[in-house]
C-alpha cells in the first residue's frame, strides 16, 4: 500500500504518512501475502467461543456507503466490531447526501470526528481517491464505480488459496459482464500479482480486450480451476441497451450449468446472484460452489485490512491474539 498520493502538489502528507487501500495497484506481492496470512490468523481466532479481539479498542471506523450493499457493508462493520473498534455507518439515503452535500463536504464533516479509517463505496470512479485527499484517516475503497474493489479481490484470493492450497499457477476463468465490473478489474490485477492466470469469457460487447486473454466461447472455461461468475446487472439488460439481445440468449450462451462444468472445478460469485441467469441454482448450491466461503472470507480479510492499516504488522498480532 502506498503512502498518501499528492495530487497537484497541494496536500502535504500528515506526519508518518497515511496508508490507504484504494486499488490493487497500490499493493505489492508482499503486501498481499501479509494480508492473507493475517486473515488466516483471524480465521483461527474466529473459531473460538469469544470472537471479539481487543486489538482496535478505541479506534473509529466510518463506513460511508453511497450504494446499496449487503455483503461488503455488513462485513466491514462486523470486522471492525470483532476488533473492538467503534463503527459509524453513514448511508447516502437519510443523510445530508440527500440534501445535496458534496462528497468532499461529507468527508470533511465525518473527518471532524477524527476517524482512523474511512471505508467508502461510491458509484463513481475516483471517489476513494477524492476522499483520501480530504481526510487524515486511512481510506479503504469498498468499490468506486467500475474502477476498483480491492477487498473483494483479497477475499477471493483468500478463498481460492483455502480451496486449492496455492495461488501460483491457478487458472481462473472470469465469466460475464467484465466491462462494468470493478470486481473483475481488481481480481485480474490481484491474480496477476500472485502468479495465477486469468481468462475473460463472455459476449464481445461486455468483455474488454487488453486486460487478460479473452474468449467469447463458454467452452473456454474447461481448462480453469476456478469459474468466477459475474453478476449480470439488470440495468445493462434494458431494451435498447443492446449489450446482449436478451437475458434468455445470455443464459443459453454463457450461463453456468452443471453440464458446462467438469469435476474438480470450483465456482465463485461475488453476489448477489441472479439464479437462472448467469448461474443455475443447482450450481450455486452444489459442492463445487465456494460462494458461502467467500462471504466468510470477507469478514477475516477485512479484519486483516483494518488491522494492517492501523497497527504495526503481523508480529504484534501473534502476541495480542495469541494464535501463533
Amino acid at each position: 500500500m502506498t503512502d498518501l498520493r499528492i495530487v497537484g502538489g497541494e496536500l502535504v502528507p500528515p506526519a508518518g504518512g497515511r496508508r490507504h487501500l484504494l486499488s490493487v495497484a497500490d499493493l505489492t506481492r508482499e503486501d498481499l501475502e501479509r494480508l492473507l496470512s493475517t486473515a488466516r490468523s483471524f480465521a483461527r481466532s474466529q473459531e473460538r467461543e469469544t470472537k471479539k479481539l481487543p486489538t482496535l479498542r478505541g479506534r473509529l471506523v466510518v463506513n460511508l456507503f453511497y450504494e446499496s450493499s449487503t455483503r461488503t457493508a455488513s462485513s466491514f462493520e462486523l470486522a471492525a466490531k470483532r476488533l473492538s473498534a467503534d463503527t459509524l455507518t453513514v448511508k447516502s439515503s437519510g443523510s445530508s447526501v440527500d440534501k445535496g452535500e458534496s462528497l468532499k463536504d461529507t468527508t470533511l464533516t465525518l473527518s471532524a470526528y477524527d476517524p482512523d479509517v474511512i471505508v467508502i463505496r461510491h458509484p463513481e470512479a475516483g471517489a476513494a481517491e477524492l476522499v483520501s485527499r480530504h481526510t487524515g484517516a486511512h481510506v479503504v475503497n469498498a468499490g468506486d464505480g467500475k474502477h476498483q474493489h480491492p477487498t473483494q479481490a483479497l477475499l477471493d484470493l483468500y478463498t481460492m488459496c483455502e480451496a486449492f492450497g496455492r495461488l501460483d499457477g491457478l487458472r481462473v476463468a472470469i465469466v460475464g459482464d467484465v466491462l462494468h465490473s470493478r470486481v473483475a478489474r481488481s481480481l485480474v490485477q490481484a491474480l496477476d500479482l500472485v502468479g495465477a492466470e486469468s481468462i475473460l469469457v463472455g459476449p464481445p460487447t461486455l468483455v474488454p480486450t487488453g486486460l487478460a486473454p479473452v474468449s467469447h466461447d463458454i467452452a473456454a472455461i474447461r481448462d480453469a480451476d476456478v469459474v468466477y461468475v459475474l453478476r449480470m446487472q439488470r440495468e445493462r439488460m434494458l431494451a435498447g441497451a443492446n449489450f446482449v439481445p436478451s437475458l434468455r440468449e445470455y443464459s443459453d450462451l454463457w450461463g453456468i450449468t452443471p453440464a458446462r462444468l467438469r469435476d474438480g472445478q470450483r465456482v465463485m460469485h461475488p453476489g448477489p446472484m441472479n439464479r437462472g441467469v448467469e448461474i443455475e441454482s443447482s450450481v450455486a448450491d452444489s459442492r463445487a460452489s465456494l460462494v458461502v466461503d467467500q462471504v466468510r472470507a470477507g469478514l477475516v480479510v477485512r479484519m486483516a485490512v483494518l488491522y494492517d492499516l492501523l497497527t504495526a504488522g503481523p508480529v504484534a498480532l501473534e502476541a495480542e491474539v495469541g494464535v501463533a
Binding site: R5, L103, E124, G126, A127, H147, Q148
Partner: protein
C-alpha cells in the same frame, strides 16, 4: 469584430531579440511604439517621454491569438468574467481571444451579443471576439439568425460544447453561412458513441474501469463535416482535434482542396491518457487525452501546418464542481496563462517543435483562420507584442493565477518561459 478597453501607449522596448519570421525580422534592436503603433525599429532609438522597457536577454514576438476561450459570462461569473478571463489572457501573452457562446443563456441573439460587446469595451484587458451559436439554444435544431448576428459583430459561429448532431442541420448551416463569410467552427462528437465516456476509450480506461470516449466519437463527425464542407463548397473549422484519425481525415481533405482548418490544445500536445491514472479531475477534458500515437500525430500535423492553430479551450470550472470523483467532475481545464510556457517546456526545449513553429501557430495561424489582423512586428503595424523571458523558470501556483478558476493541469509544475510584457491592440495589457 474585436472589442476591448480603449487606450494607446507610448513604449520603447530596449535591446530585446526581436523575432517575427514572417516579416523577416530577427535582430537585437529597439522597438518604439507611438500611440499604440509601431513607429520605428532600430538601434539606440530616442525614448522621448515613452515608457521604457528593458528587453535585454528577452525575446519580443508577435502576440498570441486564442480562438477558443470560455469566459463563462453570462451565467457563471463565479468561474470567469470578461475582466478576469482577459486578465489571464494578457498574462499569457495574448493580444486577442475569441469567446465561446455556450454560456447561460446561450449567446444566440443579437441584443445579447451587443450587451456583451458593450461590457467587453469597459472591462476587457485584451480585445475579445464573441462567437454566436449555430443553432438556437445550441439545441441542434433551428439555425440562429446568422446574418443578423454577423451584422451585430459575431466573430463566427459554433455550438461548442455540443455537436450539431443532425447532418441535415449542419449542411444547412454551412450553405446559409455563405452570406456571412464568418467561420463556422465545429465541436466534433458523435453523442451515441461518447455517452458515459470520461476518458479516451482505450487500454487505460478499460483497465481503470472508466467509461470510454473513443477516437471514433470524434473522427466520424470530422469525416462527416469535411464531406459536408466539400459538398457545399464552404469552409469549416474543426475545433480541439485529439485523434490521429481526425488528423488523417483533415490532411486528405486538404489534398482534395477542401477549405478546412483545425486547432489543437496544449494539453493534447503535451499529455496522454496515461496521465488519467492519477484520477485527478484536472486531467479530465473533452475531447479526452488520448494515446502517445495520437499525440505524435497532432504534433506532426501542427508542424506541417495541417493544423494551423493552437487553441487553449480555456474552460474554467469552480473548485466545488471540479473537486469531485473523476467520473463526476466536469470536463475542461484552464490554459490561457500557461499555454506558451507549457509548449515551450514540453515541446520546444526538448527539440520536438521549433520556437518559430509554435509562435506562428499561436499567432499568425489562428489570425488567418479567423480573418483577424495578423500581429506583426513592422513599422506602421498596430502594436500586438509579447515580451518573453525564455530562460525564466517559474512554478504554477494556484494563488497566482489570474483566472477566477484554478483547474489547471499544471498546478505545482515548474515551467520554462515567462511572459514579461503584453501589448494588445496598442495598449500595455500586462507587465
Amino acid at each position: 469584430m474585436l472589442v476591448g478597453r480603449e487606450g494607446h501607449d507610448d513604449v520603447v522596448v530596449r535591446g530585446a531579440r526581436v523575432l517575427d519570421p514572417l516579416e523577416g525580422v530577427d535582430a537585437t534592436i529597439d522597438v518604439r511604439i507611438d500611440g499604440g503603433v509601431i513607429a520605428q525599429l532600430g538601434q539606440d532609438l530616442d525614448t522621448n517621454e515613452h515608457r521604457v522597457v528593458d528587453g535585454a536577454g528577452l525575446t519580443l514576438v508577435p502576440a498570441f491569438v486564442d480562438p477558443h476561450v470560455h469566459l463563462r459570462t453570462p451565467g457563471r461569473e463565479d468561474e470567469e468574467t470578461i475582466e478576469s478571463g482577459t486578465a489571464a489572457a494578457a498574462a499569457g501573452g495574448y493580444c486577442a481571444i475569441l469567446a465561446m457562446p455556450n454560456t447561460d443563456p446561450v449567446l444566440d441573439d443579437a441584443d445579447a451579443l451587443r450587451g456583451l460587446r458593450a461590457r467587453a469595451a469597459r472591462e476587457a484587458h485584451v480585445p475579445v471576439g464573441f462567437f454566436a451559436a449555430i443553432t438556437k439554444g445550441q439545441a441542434g435544431e433551428e439555425l440562429t439568425e446568422l446574418g443578423t448576428l454577423a451584422g451585430a459583430g459575431a466573430v463566427g459561429f459554433t455550438d461548442d460544447g455540443r455537436p450539431v448532431t443532425a447532418a441535415g442541420v449542419m449542411r444547412r448551416a454551412l450553405q446559409y453561412n455563405a452570406i456571412t463569410g464568418r467561420p463556422l467552427a465545429v465541436h466534433c462528437e458523435e453523442p451515441t458513441l461518447t455517452r458515459g465516456g470520461h476518458a479516451h476509450g482505450g487500454a487505460v480506461a478499460a483497465e481503470l474501469g472508466i467509461g470510454g470516449w473513443p477516437s471514433l466519437g470524434e473522427s466520424l463527425i470530422v469525416a462527416r463535416d469535411l464531406e459536408l464542407a466539400a459538398e457545399t463548397r464552404q469552409p469549416v473549422h474543426l475545433m480541439h482535434l485529439s485523434a490521429r484519425e481526425s488528423v488523417d481525415h483533415l490532411r486528405r481533405a486538404h489534398a482534395n482542396a477542401v477549405r478546412a482548418t483545425g486547432e489543437v490544445t496544449p494539453h493534447h500536445l503535451c499529455l496522454t491518457d496515461e496521465a488519467v491514472r492519477s484520477l485527478d479531475p484536472n486531467l479530465k477534458m473533452n475531447p479526452p487525452l488520448r494515446t502517445d500515437d495520437d499525440r505524435t500525430a497532432l504534433i506532426e500535423a501542427l508542424r506541417d501546418g495541417t493544423i494551423g492553430a493552437v487553441a487553449t479551450d480555456h474552460a474554467p470550472h469552480s473548485a466545488e464542481e471540479k473537486d469531485a470523483p473523476f467520473e463526476a467532475a466536469p470536463f475542461g481545464v484552464i490554459g490561457l496563462e500557461t499555454a506558451f510556457p507549457a509548449l515551450y517546456t514540453y515541446l520546444v526545449e526538448p527539440g520536438v517543435l521549433t520556437l518559430e513553429t509554435v509562435l506562428e501557430r499561436m499567432s499568425a495561424g489562428p489570425a488567418a483562420i479567423f480573418g483577424l489582423e495578423r500581429p506583426r512586428i513592422a513599422v506602421g503595424a498596430r502594436a500586438n507584442l509579447t515580451l518573453l523571458d525564455l530562460a525564466g523558470s517559474w512554478r504554477v501556483e494556484r494563488e497566482e493565477l489570474r483566472s477566477r478558476s484554478r483547474n489547471s493541469w499544471l498546478l505545482g509544475k515548474r515551467l520554462l518561459g515567462r511572459v514579461a510584457l503584453t501589448i494588445a491592440g496598442g495598449r500595455v495589457a500586462f507587465s
